[in-house]
């Protein structure tokens, strides 16, 4: 098949008479250029839509709103952590906007008036960590990352590059509030996802 094609081309070349080499080169270059443009065009038309998620989410991080989590009384003030779902009033996912949906969960630990929130997502690769009351620490059931009760990496062999991610909290009207965020996994720095 390919052989007969090139034969055809040969005969074409001969039959279409060319004045100069330069002129022929121009014809060849134009042919390649036009064909390439036609071939690339459909892909080029889709580039922006493929890159849309990159464009949408870059730029400045919008102010993270405060979200109500739980009455303070649900937290023992001895620092023992408890897990809470975070119900966000508005979550956008492409063409759907959800109202009041659980968007994730956190561990809250209270000492007096101070509440610390630890993200449930392991900073290693994003599995959900468990609090282990027996050893009073956090453990990721995927790749065995361990974290101290203060969220720090305590074991040298723990694969996580940083401690558990904390988020801003406050106590207002006897409720715990949180600025719920997710962070980029598996880097030493804690950078909010955006």
């Amino acid at each position: 098949m390919s052989q007969s094609n090139s034969n055809d081309q040969e005969s074409l070349k001969e039959s279409s008479c060319c004045e100069t080499d330069k002129g022929r080169r121009l014809v060849v270059a134009s042919t390649i250029g036009v064909s390439a443009a036609c071939a690339i065009f459909p892909f080029a038309a889709g580039v922006t839509s493929i890159l849309d998620p990159v464009k949408k989410n870059s730029g400045s991080v919008a102010e993270v709103p405060w979200t109500k989590v739980t009455p303070v009384v649900n937290l023992p003030d001895n620092g023992k952590p408890a897990k809470f779902e975070i119900i966000l009033s508005k979550v956008k996912d492409a063409w759907t906007t959800y109202k009041n949906v659980p968007a994730g969960a956190v561990y809250l630990s209270r000492k007096g008036e101070e509440v610390t929130a630890y993200s449930l997502k392991c900073p290693h690769l994003g599995c959900a960590v468990d609090y282990r009351s027996k050893t009073n620490d956090y453990f990721c059931p995927c790749h065995n990352s361990t974290f101290g009760i203060d969220g720090s990496v305590t074991d040298k062999n723990s694969p996580s590059p940083r401690g558990l991610d904390t988020m801003d909290t406050k106590i207002e009207n006897e409720y715990v509030w949180i600025k719920f965020q997710q962070f980029r996994p598996n880097i030493a720095e804690k950078i909010p996802l955006s």
Binding site: K83, C127, P141, H143, R184, L193
Partner: protein, 578 residues
């Protein structure tokens, strides 16, 4: 017929094409060791056909992906079989890939002049693995969701463009609609198209150089048709039977509970990626996902050149055996670690429970447009056990666990509540040995209270015989949905024991005005009694000042009214496992 074929051949040259395809020479005769390529082609063909048929019913979005797969699995005529074949054939493909690769390595068929074809083969392996990875997410169940979360986080490890690349693949920052649509486009469009392109060149190159014959040649030369094709066909049939067997044995492919970012799941990839999963426990992700694959990949690419000497060839074959053995070892470690991990086992069982539950509700009530995930979130039974686990289980137990099947590491310090107020439960309660055991009040101050020390312990044998009757009376007050109510006459006679023989009434009121020194048992264990009790156990009707650590969930707003009702209904819904 012949006339038609002549006509067709004249216009298309079909005869020479077919002849060229079928009468390929097989030096040394047809052999079983050459079947793997054909098996892979057959497997891929099956995937294209079954995949396209699944596509006819699959709907990629966060509210419809799981739901449409559920429909295929549980509502569509034979849908479970179709999906099962697609699922297990994908796994068979991985096994066949390894067999094909090892045959090529051992026979030395990767060496000159077949280097280029070897590289195409390696590329095909990569595309096949990518197909598996992208297919895994499409049902949008917990397993796919959390495992893919890990996999896409690994993309971010690619230097410089990693985070941007991750966003492009995931379709944003969070997983959602766009993740599914993009993965689906990859899985059903881009990757299969790439695979077909690569396979065409792979087979063309294979034909160009012919079969690489493993010496010594066992027989005389023969042709592809029919000798080798018969062997290939038999091997394909064996693959088919294995896949059908797996599909029937496991009743199709599994479908976990719908994806829920607020409901954790112990992410595990499919078994053929477990070695990589296990590796990530030991090495940083950058090594596991970038450096090691690149180094191994480069080494594999130059293997045709390494293999030009006999020593080099031996090295290559040894290298692949080591790679296989290493992967098998890591896979074994991953399996055995999980098998010994009680928490992991409980998490898998919990996910199974959720899957069964949501499927049951979907079958009974149907799925609303908001998706199946809301069925579970709103399900009172699911909420009941979760409230119990988070609020009650650090002191109480439910059949010895936390309500969902997880073992609790804290010491049990309050009564077992599975089958609370049932005849069995109450009979045991009134037995002194049980009363002071950790299963009941052994972990509380009541262990040394009046009821234990001055009442139950002091009963003589005659009185002890009456206690099961009191238990029947009390349990009747609970009006539990799974127990039959006593007749009026029976109740009367039991009340006699309560009032006169054992004089329980001296401390515990039932339907009376006076204020006993111990909890009021009017309507004991009934829905209202339990709600009031959990609302405030320190109320005078109940423990009053004698309350030992039981929080006043309603009074202190630790639980909403609705939540208390849900957990009460849940506890009352089933007998305990005595």
């Amino acid at each position: 017929m012949n006339k038609f074929l002549d006509w067709l051949d004249d216009r298309s040259g079909i005869r020479s094409i077919v002849k060229e395809a079928l009468y390929e020479k097989v030096p040394g005769g047809a052999r079983w060791r050459y079947v793997w390529g054909s098996c892979l082609t057959f497997a891929f063909f099956t995937q294209v056909v079954t995949g396209t048929l699944l596509w006819m019913s699959y709907s990629p979005s966060a509210q419809t992906a799981w739901e449409s797969v559920y429909f295929i699995q549980y509502q569509m005529w034979g849908g479970w079989f179709l999906r099962g074949v697609h699922h297990y054939m994908a796994q068979a493909m991985i096994v066949l890939l390894v067999l094909h690769l090892m045959q090529v390595m051992i026979d030395g068929a990767y060496r000159a002049p077949r280097e280029l074809n070897f590289w195409f083969g390696i590329a095909l392996m990569g595309v096949t693995l990518a197909l598996s990875l992208t297919g895994y997410l499409l049902p949008w169940d917990q397993k796919g969701y959390w495992a893919t979360a890990v996999a896409t986080n690994l993309i971010a490890e690619v230097p410089l463009i990693g985070p941007v690349l991750q966003k492009i693949v995931v379709g944003g920052v969070e997983y959602g609609h766009q993740t599914i649509t993009r993965f689906f486009a990859l899985h059903a469009g881009i990757l299969p198209a790439t695979l077909i392109g690569l396979v065409v060149v792979h087979i063309y190159l294979f034909r160009k150089h012919g079969i690489h014959v493993k010496e010594p040649r066992p027989k005389r030369d023969s042709y592809f048709w029919p000798d080798q094709i018969l062997k290939d066909g038999v091997a394909c049939l064996a693959v088919l039977l294995a896949v059908v067997f797996l599909t029937l044995f496991f009743k199709g492919a599994p479908l976990g509970p719908p994806a829920d970012p607020s409901n954790e799941f112990p992410a595990r990839p499919e078994w053929y990626f477990l070695f990589l999963f296990q590796l990530l426990k030991y090495v940083p992700a950058f090594w596991g996902a970038v450096i090691i694959p690149i180094v191994l990949g480069l080494l594999i690419l130059i293997q045709p050149f390494i293999g030009s000497s006999t020593k080099g060839h031996q090295f290559n074959v040894g290298f692949w055996w080591c790679l296989l053995a290493g992967s098998a070892g890591l896979t074994f470690l991953a399996f055995s670690e999980d098998r010994e991990n009680v928490n992991h086992i409980a998490a898998v069982e919990e996910a199974e429970w959720q899957a069964n539950r949501v499927i049951q509700i979907a079958q009974e009530d149907g799925i609303p447009p908001t998706g199946a995930v809301t069925l579970l979130r709103e399900d009172r039974e699911n909420r009941g056990r979760r409230i119990f686990a988070s609020q009650c289980s650090s002191c109480h137990r439910y059949n010895g666990h936390d309500g969902r099947g997880y073992l609790v590491s804290d010491e049990q310090s309050a009564p077992e509540l599975a089958g609370f107020a049932s005849v069995n439960w109450t009979t045991k309660l009134l037995n002194y040995d049980h009363y002071v055991s950790s299963e009941y009040f052994g972990g509380t101050a009541f262990k040394d209270g009046t009821m234990a020390k001055k009442v139950l312990k002091k009963y003589d044998d005659e009185e002890k015989k009456l206690l099961p009757d009191v238990a029947r009376l009390l349990s009747d007050l609970a009006e539990l949905p799974y127990q039959e109510q006593l007749s009026e006459d029976e109740k009367e006679s039991l009340l006699d024991i309560y009032y006169d023989d054992l004089a329980c009434i001296d401390c515990h009121d039932i339907d009376s005005e006076g204020e006993g020194s111990a909890p009021d048992l009017t309507g004991y264990g009934s829905r209202k009694w339990m709600i009031d009790f959990i609302n405030n156990p320190e109320h005078e009707r109940f423990y009053g000042k004698k309350n030992d650590r039981m929080p006043a969930y309603g009074r202190d707003k630790k639980l909403s009214e609705e939540e208390i009702e849900i957990v009460v209904d849940w506890i009352r819904s089933k007998p305990g496992e005595f």
